[in-house]
Subunit: 263 residues, 2 copies
């Protein structure tokens, strides 16, 4: 098994694999004067399942976490003590193969819940893409809370259902779509998310690197880059400052993403 035999996509530098991070990464702190009732994104999260006058139960078990870009939240293989709500920023979850090949299993944004997929240990690693704040919950306490508030369980099941549906879409993308179709699908997915958060329709700020995009779509950095240039020269999009994507021909992009257009 020589190092020369590396194949398939981007490799990342050697990292602790299936091991706990030694110094707890990120900044952790108790939320002193910002209880759940003041949470501006509560309606987006699972916390919407708890009635306003019961929110103190939630605040008791929640701790705020801040994470700088590139910092890890947890690693695959660690025991799952906590679950998290993203309250601002973006994270990525990923899995590694022994030789460093990486698959990003998802990008998490405001309102997303981390820690649904479960086998007793985290099934993937999580790392901040941009500056991120999260609410941390003890899984045990959360489980207790679920017994008292059935709506919380329903909400979690709902989240899991929709994540599962997204995972299936991603399987189609990874298994059967071309590079062009993958990029088109990816951009539209990001755009849709941005719209839900109330952002503009015509453009899109990309926070992740080409390598991240490649590792999410099962491509190499180079192919991602080449596909972008190709879409630019086809007048389907253009790229502004700070890798901002401007949609010139959204209709074509949708056709490409859905597999209708082959060129």
């Amino acid at each position: 098994m020589s190092l020369k035999d590396n194949i398939r996509g981007n490799r990342i530098a050697p990292q602790p694999f299936n091991k706990a991070a030694d110094p707890r990464p990120g900044t952790v702190g108790h939320r002193p004067d910002a209880p759940c009732s003041a949470c501006s994104v509560r309606q987006l999260t699972i916390c919407a399942a708890i009635a306003p006058d019961e929110l103190s139960h939630l605040a008791d078990v929640a701790t705020e976490i801040k994470l700088a870009p590139g910092k890890s939240l947890f690693y695959e293989g660690e025991a799952t003590k906590y679950a998290f709500n993203v309250t601002s920023g973006t994270l990525k979850t990923y899995k590694l193969l022994p030789d460093g090949r990486r698959q990003i299993t998802g990008f998490q944004v405001t309102g997303d819940f981390l820690g649904l997929a479960d086998r007793g240990t985290y099934v993937h690693s999580a790392e901040a893409v941009s500056a991120t704040t999260l609410c941390r919950f003890s899984r045990d306490r959360l489980r207790e809370l679920m017994d008292g508030f059935p709506a919380l369980g329903h909400r979690l099941l709902e989240k899991a259902s929709s994540e599962l549906a997204m995972a299936h879409d991603q399987m189609v993308l990874l298994g059967r779509k071309t590079a062009r179709e993958k990029i088109a699908s990816f951009l539209l997915m990001l755009s849709q998310r941005a719209n839900q958060s109330g952002h503009g329709e015509g453009s899109l700020a990309i926070e992740m690197t080409r390598t991240d995009i490649g590792d999410y779509l099962g491509l190499t950095t180079e192919t991602v880059s080449r596909t972008f240039t190709q879409l630019k020269s086809d007048k389907i999009l253009s790229i502004g400052k700070g890798s901002e994507i401007i949609f010139l021909d959204r209709e074509s992009l949708v056709k490409i993403a859905d597999g209708f257009a082959n060129k």
Copy 2:
């Protein structure tokens, strides 16, 4: 968009897409004298969440379904009226692209639950691989039942969690593994499932076609076939009667599947 432009893997014959099947497929019948208490696979399913003396509640909402190989249970896009427990046999769930490219999102065996991923309509189509029996539940009744039996909700969440974890593994496979690694992973996954059902360790009966395998792994029929012959000539496995796989060198297979061995 010419037909000649077909790309990427196996195409399947034109089929009703995003439309309900006209004559309800499969055989449907009320279970007269086989209530849930007599169910031999109850412990494998979500029904294990209901106490033995409460099983009548479950039997009230369950209907037994039989499905011949190749028959469809539901199609992607149909309204999700029902959820299902597999009580015997094997099914496949799949999604199609407009030009017929297909991605199989999973194979369901005894004990598996169908209908977790949800967007109001089925997110994929389901079809019997072998002769199959299922328990059909009205989703509305199931939801009602969940309020009375919180353990049922927990069990569903558990199933969803583990399905999500499997979906992430499949993403790594589809996005980052070679054909050889994909086949190795697939065979070991099947073998593991067979073991849980109490079958032998050394061999494995494959129920699905090469085309199905290809559509599950993001490969073509031909590549699947070629990879099998390659593994045969490497003395890692041999193939007996009825496409029965015999493991000759399981250790190597594990290494290949995990991405340790590149040749």
